[in-house]
């Protein structure tokens, strides 16, 4: 392997979270962005070609080494890793509304979901998937919520743009234009 790829591999092994191109660039100040991308590509191909137990994945605006899916059951059953707890349907629905409508107030979320979301919202905040991003103008200046990079990591996507586009959803009839639906992405 190219020395730059080795250095990147060492860095990925030292970090518990995805590393962005900016962070990788700090690691090798003499290398260009293109060289770093090429080295990442080399590492990815190496893992794929030589039959490794890990792979280089692109998530949350960065790169991260992850174990291959095929080994998940064996590792979890041997109690080496505990799988994260699954989110409840109310939590997922609340996340969906926030992801597409952010920044969004609690009242708006409750309006769309038709239920109170106070405790769901709090537990999503505790899990770091949602955060307060500001305040609305107007009466009472309610807090506004948005999603975090942790949500991207949870979903294994790089950016919010990778979420399904609303016009791709199977719901046949879109809401009237003035109603807006979940809002534009």
């Amino acid at each position: 392997m190219h020395p730059l790829a080795q250095l990147l591999e060492a860095a990925f092994f030292s970090a518990a979270q995805p590393l962005s191109l900016d962070e990788l660039a700090r690691l090798a100040p003499d290398a260009t962005r293109d060289e770093i991308r090429t080295a990442c590509e080399e590492l990815r191909e190496h893992y794929a070609r030589d039959g490794h137990g890990v792979e280089l994945a692109e998530v949350a605006d960065g790169f991260q080494i992850l174990t291959r899916r095929a080994f998940a059951d064996a590792i979890a059953e041997a109690h080496i890793v505990r799988r994260p707890r699954k989110l409840s349907m109310p939590a997922l629905e609340t996340l969906a509304v926030i992801a597409y409508r952010q920044p969004v107030s609690r009242a708006e979320i409750e309006d769309i979901r038709g239920v109170g979301v106070e405790s769901v919202l709090r537990s999503l905040q505790e899990r770091g998937l949602v955060e307060v991003v500001g305040r609305a103008e107007g009466l009472g200046r309610p807090l506004l919520y948005g999603t975090t990079a942790a949500l991207l990591e949870l979903l294994g996507v790089r950016t919010l743009e990778e979420l399904p586009r609303l016009d791709e959803l199977s719901v046949a009839l879109r809401p009237p234009a003035e109603a807006g639906g979940l809002g534009e992405m």
């Binding site: 998530v59 994260p84 109170g116 955060e131 949870l154 979420l163 399904p164 109603a179």
Partner: protein, 245 residues
Amino acid sequence: MTVWPTSTSTDAPFVVRLDAFSGPLDLLLHLIREQEIDIADIPIATVADQFLDAIDVLGLNEAADYLEMAAQLLRIKIQMLLPQPFDDDEWEDPRAELVRRLLEYEQVCEVAGWFAQQSSEHADRFPRGWLPELPEQPPPPVTVTLDELLTAVEQLLAVMPEAVLHRVVPRPLDVEAATRRISALLEERERIGFWDVVGESPTIADVLSMLIAILELARLGRLRVTQRKPFGKVGIKRAPARATA
């Protein structure tokens, strides 16, 4: 999306798990789908009745969110019974707003389902679990978010007597004595401060006993607690209407 509960027979279409629905819109959508109703032309009278039956069977007829939906359905049902004007163009379907909400909510469900699938697939790829120690280096920058600060404020405000009780209280709380002490002080003076009643160098048990006593007396209307600004001094006042004891 909710795993739709399966009916055991056509006579009992509402045999479902209690937590099967994530809200009234979810339940309503379930009824509509189960009967393959056209969402743009909902037979409101039928669906409203089914909705009421369902929340009754599900024990949800005390949940405010479901009751609100039931009320809305009944309102639409009545509006539908009113005679329609001749000019169709001017007639606004009373179901329109409900249909809009249902469609919007269907989108939410579809995205939530995608989230569930995506996160469960991704959860099978594990990140690095162990991080090696690195050589000494200057301390990293710090970060603090509004969220974290708020959590800290809440934690402070919540005080959490239970947590403290388990940890440090060396002797049981004495709310009764605290109550007596407050009452006695209020006999002497109309207004006292929190730290007056706690006294010199109080233990945590003293503070908690006093706190509980104050809240209880406030609840019973025997005193009033005032605070002019966040974290401000807490004042305790004799309740004006209190019968002299």
